[in-house]
C-alpha cells in the first residue's frame, strides 16, 4: 500500500501543533530542511524539537516562532558557531520564550535508544557531576545493584514524530540509507510516527535486495515524501555535498530580527515548495551534485 504523499500532506496530517519532533538525527548531514521549511510555512506552533546537533534547522524553526521547547545536545550553526535565532529566544524570549532541556550527545542518544528498546530509562556513567544532569527532569541518579556504583538514569524519549531523510525508499517506506547515521535508527524506532524524505523512489525489489541496509521495517513508517534535495544545505552521501556558504550567509543575514525576517521570506515563506527552493539556488545546486563516485563492493546474498 503506497504511503507516498506530498510534503504538505505529510506535515498537515502528521505534525499538528504541539507535536514533539525529532530531526537532524545524522548530526550535520541529511538534515530534513525541506520538512522544517514546510512546518514554518504552515505556521506550526508549540513544537518540541528533539535532536543531538541540529545545525541551523532548529535555529530557523525557533526564529520563526514554531517552537516551545528544545531537547538537544547542541543548537547553533556548525560552520559559524552561535545561532542567532536560538540566542534571541533563550536570552530575550523573542519571538517567544522557549524551554530548554539540555542533553549531551550520549544522553540524547540513550534517551532515544531507551525509547527504541521500549524501556523507561537507560543507565550511563556519563554526566555525573555535570550541571546538565543537575536538577533536570531528564535524569535521575541511581546505583548499580551489583557494585553500588553511581550511575545516571537517562529517561526514555519517545517523540511523536521522526522526520528523517533517506537516499532511496519504496512506496511503502522500506528504505535504504547510508553514510554516518548518528541516532537515526533509534529515533525512527522510538517515534510514534515516521516521515521519510526520500531522494529517490525505487521499486520494492531494489530495497529487498539488501535487507541489511534497510533503515527500519516499513510498517513503522507513516508517510513517504519524494523530495530530492530535501536536505540542502546539509549533505547526502552519494547525492550532494554540503553547501558551506549557505551556513555563513544565514549567519550573517540573521544577526538581527529584521534580517531574520528577510531571510525567512526569501528562502521559506515566499518559496512554495522544494522545487522552487532548488531553482532559487541556481547553478550552485548543479555544482553540489557533481560528485566523485565511490561504489560499494558487491555483495551476494546467495541462498
Amino acid at each position: 500500500m503506497s504511503k507516498l504523499v506530498t510534503m504538505g500532506e505529510a506535515v498537515a496530517e502528521l505534525v499538528p501543533d504541539g507535536s514533539s519532533v525529532v530531526m537532524g538525527t545524522c548530526l550535520e548531514s541529511m538534515i530534513p530542511f525541506a520538512a522544517g521549511h514546510e512546518l514554518i510555512r504552515r505556521g506550526r506552533r508549540d513544537l518540541t524539537l528533539i535532536g543531538p546537533i541540529s545545525d541551523i534547522l532548529f535555529d530557523q524553526l525557533i526564529g520563526a516562532g514554531c517552537v516551545a521547547r528544545v531537547e538537544a545536545a547542541w543548537v547553533g550553526n556548525v560552520s559559524a558557531g552561535l545561532g542567532h535565532g536560538y540566542r534571541r529566544a533563550a536570552e530575550q524570549g523573542r519571538p517567544r520564550r522557549i524551554e530548554i532541556v539540555d542533553h549531551s550527545n550520549l544522553s540524547i542518544a540513550l534517551g532515544l535508544h531507551a525509547g527504541a528498546l521500549g524501556v523507561p530509562f537507560l543507565p550511563t556513567r556519563s554526566l555525573l557531576g555535570s550541571d546538565i544532569a543537575a536538577g533536570s527532569a531528564a535524569f535521575e541518579e541511581q546505583r548499580d545493584p551489583w557494585s553500588d556504583d553511581r550511575l545516571l538514569a537517562v529517561r526514555a524519549i519517545r517523540p511523536d514524530i521522526a522526520i528523517v531523510a533517506v537516499q532511496r525508499s519504496d512506496e511503502e517506506g522500506d528504505a535504504h540509507v547510508w553514510g554516518n547515521l548518528g541516532v537515526t535508527h533509534d529515533a525512527v524506532m522510538a517515534a510514534e510516527r515516521v516521515i521519510l524524505l526520500a531522494e529517490e523512489i525505487v521499486g520494492a525489489d531494489e530495497i529487498r535486495s539488501d535487507p541489511n541496509r534497510v533503515l527500519v521495517p516499513g510498517f513503522r513508517v507513516s508517510a513517504v515524501v519524494h523530495s530530492p534535495g530535501a536536505c540542502h544545505p546539509s549533505p547526502v552521501q552519494g547525492r550532494y555535498r554540503r553547501d558551506h556558504d549557505s551556513y555563513g550567509a544565514y549567519h550573517e543575514a540573521t544577526r538581527d530580527e529584521d534580517g531574520f525576517a528577510d531571510w525567512l521570506r526569501e528562502w521559506v515563506l515566499d518559496v512554495p515548495d522544494r522545487d522552487a527552493y532548488l531553482e532559487l539556488l541556481g547553478p550552485r545546486w548543479e555544482e553540489l551534485r557533481d560528485l566523485h563516485e565511490a561504489l560499494a563492493a558487491p555483495v551476494d546474498y546467495g541462498w
Binding site: C26, L27, E28, S29, P52, I53, A72, A73, W74, V75, G76, V78, S79, G81, L82, G83, Y86, R87, A90, E91, I100, D102, H103, S104, N105, L106, S107, A109, L110, H113, T124, R125, S126, L127, L128, G129, S130, D131, I132, D149, R150, L151, G179, N180, L181, G182, V183, T184, H185, D186, S234, P235, Q237, G238, R241, R242, H244, L291, H292, A294
Partner: protein, 251 residues
C-alpha cells in the same frame, strides 16, 4: 617566527597523542593534530568521530564538519553515534579533545550558559559530545583561545566536568578517572598534575607574566616551566599539506 600560533597549537596537541592510541577527534585543530601525530610519531593511532565514523587516513577532500561526505569515504567503519560513544563509556578511548567558551582552574568547561541559565546573558550552543568526552575519555586535551574572560577562576556552569573542585571530586561524584591532561591555548600550555592547572609553557612572543595577565586565576608555574617547543620543520610541512589553504591554522 616562521609559523602561526595555530600551527604551534596543532604541533603541541599532536605531541600529546601517543602511538596506538584511540583518539576522539573533533574538527579543526584537533583533527589536524590527530593526522599530524599519525604522520609523525604515532602511525598506529585511530580517529573516532562521534557521528559514527572511524578512520585512519585523511579524507580525500577538506572537511568543514565531521559529517561532510568525504569523511565517510575510506572510513574504517561507519554507523551510528552510540557505537563511538560506547567506546568512550567502555574506556577504550585514550584521549579526546574539547573546546568551550570558558574553562576554570580545575579544567571544568562551560559551553552552555553565560549568566543565569534561566535567563542567560549568552546562550551558547551546548555540550554536543563534549560533556561525554570529558566524563569518559581516559584523558582530555582542552583547546581554547586565551582570554581573561575565558580562563576564569570558576565557571558558572559545568557543561564538561574536569576535576570539579579539586582532587577526589571525580570519584566522589561517580566519574571514572580522567579529566584534562593539558590545556593548550593561543598563548600557553597548562598541565593538571593534581587536578589544578599549572603553567607549563608559553608560546613564542609571550612570557609568564603575559599569561598571568590574561588568565582569570592566580597562575602557578609547573616545575621546569619554560617556552613552548616550536613545531618542527616536519610538523610544519605536514600541517601545510593537511591544511593547504591555512583555513584552520592561519585563517
Amino acid at each position: 617566527m616562521g609559523f602561526e600560533i595555530g600551527e604551534l597549537m596543532v604541533a603541541a596537541a599532536a605531541r600529546e597523542i601517543r602511538d596506538e592510541e584511540r583518539v576522539f577527534v573533533g574538527m579543526r585543530l584537533p583533527m589536524l593534530a590527530f593526522f599530524l601525530a599519525r604522520r609523525t610519531h604515532a602511525p598506529g593511532t585511530v580517529g573516532i568521530f562521534e557521528n559514527g565514523v572511524v578512520r585512519d587516513r585523511p579524507s580525500p577532500a577538506p572537511l568543514a564538519t565531521m559529517s561532510d561526505t568525504p569523511n565517510v569515504v575510506g572510513a574504517l567503519w561507519c554507523g551510528g553515534m552510540l557505537e563511538p560513544m560506547s567506546l568512550l563509556q567502555r574506556r577504550e578511548v585514550d584521549v579526546g579533545f574539547i573546546g568551550g567558551a570558558e574553562v576554570d582552574r580545575f579544567g571544568n568547561v562551560n559551553s552552555s550558559y553565560i549568566g543565569d541559565p534561566r535567563r542567560p546573558n549568552v546562550k551558547l550552543p551546548g555540550s554536543g559530545g563534549g560533556a561525554d568526552i570529558a566524563s569518559l575519555a581516559r584523558r582530555i586535551l582542552l583547546i581554547m583561545p586565551h582570554d581573561r574572560r575565558r580562563l576564569t577562576e570558576r565557571v558558572g556552569y559545568v557543561t564538561s566536568p574536569g576535576f570539579g573542585d579539586g582532587p577526589g571530586w571525580r570519584s566522589r561524584v561517580g566519574l571514572p578517572p580522567g579529566g584534562p591532561s593539558a590545556l593548550i591555548t593561543t598563548m600557553a600550555v597548562f598541565r593538571f598534575p593534581d587536578g589544578e592547572a599549572l603553567l607549563e609553557s608559553w608560546h613564542p612572543g609571550f612570557d609568564a607574566d603575559d599569561v598571568r595577565r590574561e588568565t582569570g586565576w592566580d597562575v602557578r608555574l609547573a616545575p621546569g616551566a619554560g617556552p613552548t617547543e616550536p613545531p618542527s620543520d616536519e610538523d610544519l610541512a605536514v600541517i601545510q599539506e593537511l591544511d593547504p589553504e591555512g583555513i584552520w591554522t592561519r585563517r
